[in-house]
Symmetry: C2
């Protein structure tokens, strides 16, 4: 098996989700209906841009992000990339492939509060990738996450 | 005018482009033919992932990234997002729209060595966006950069 060559989502850690959401909306961008006060989503072509509290994002990454936000391989950068899979089993397999390729296992796959199944790995430079399954917003036939 | 809701490319600053390229290739990912030793491109669905030397990326951002990589609004995070436009005029207009919305003008639009026209802005949290025109890899009808 190979890992799907897929960039599902880019999440930017921000100080104030409401302020940042207003900023991007003032460009004429429209957030999706599923956006809540804690997180905002913007459907791009083929990917999703998310705005999430920087502290909440560090918490999601887990202890490896550190109290001061230090992640393995360098300081926590407040940016994560996501690769969404079609099932929990695929998350387990893809996570294992990354680790076998030399990625750092930052957070083992686990069921998470929002109803999904999520893990984190870091590439050789500490860039964080979330490997996840999101049953509420599954991938479409092209492997693209669709929000509404 | 509104700014196209578009995420063309994510660039990860890395310590060693060759090493990082091998890492992503070992996942089964294929870089595009246009990849050189200094930069590698991976065509995702709807976007492009690029690997570029961290120092070179900081240099591209310009003095605002600072000698130590400090960018306006926080430390240089070694990650940039790109929004590619269809012309130099559109770059100028989109750059102006971002600044009017409250973005920091990090680098004014200018012709760059690789034959394109590029600028940088920072969002309220210092996340860097390159607003660029790349005549060698124009956007397709869906606004997606196509590499080969």
């Amino acid at each position: 098996m190979t890992v799907p060559q897929r960039l599902t989502m880019v999440t930017l850690g921000v100080a104030d989700v409401v302020r940042s959401t207003r900023f991007y909306e003032s460009l004429g961008w429209r957030r999706t209906a599923g956006s809540e006060g804690e997180i905002s989503f913007f459907q791009m072509q083929g990917s999703v841009l998310a705005l999430f509290g920087r502290g909440a994002l560090a918490h999601d990454v887990g202890p490896a992000a550190g109290p001061g936000g230090e992640a393995h391989g360098g300081q926590f950068r407040g940016v994560t990339l996501a690769l969404n899979c079609d099932s929990r089993d695929e998350v387990d397999a893809v996570f294992a492939e990354w680790v076998e390729a030399g990625a750092t296992a930052v957070k083992q796959p686990e069921a998470v509060f929002w109803g999904g199944y999520s893990s984190y790995v870091a590439d050789p430079d500490g860039h964080l990738w979330e490997i996840a399954h999101n049953p509420m917003s599954p991938n479409d036939a092209d492997g693209i996450m669709q929000l509404d």
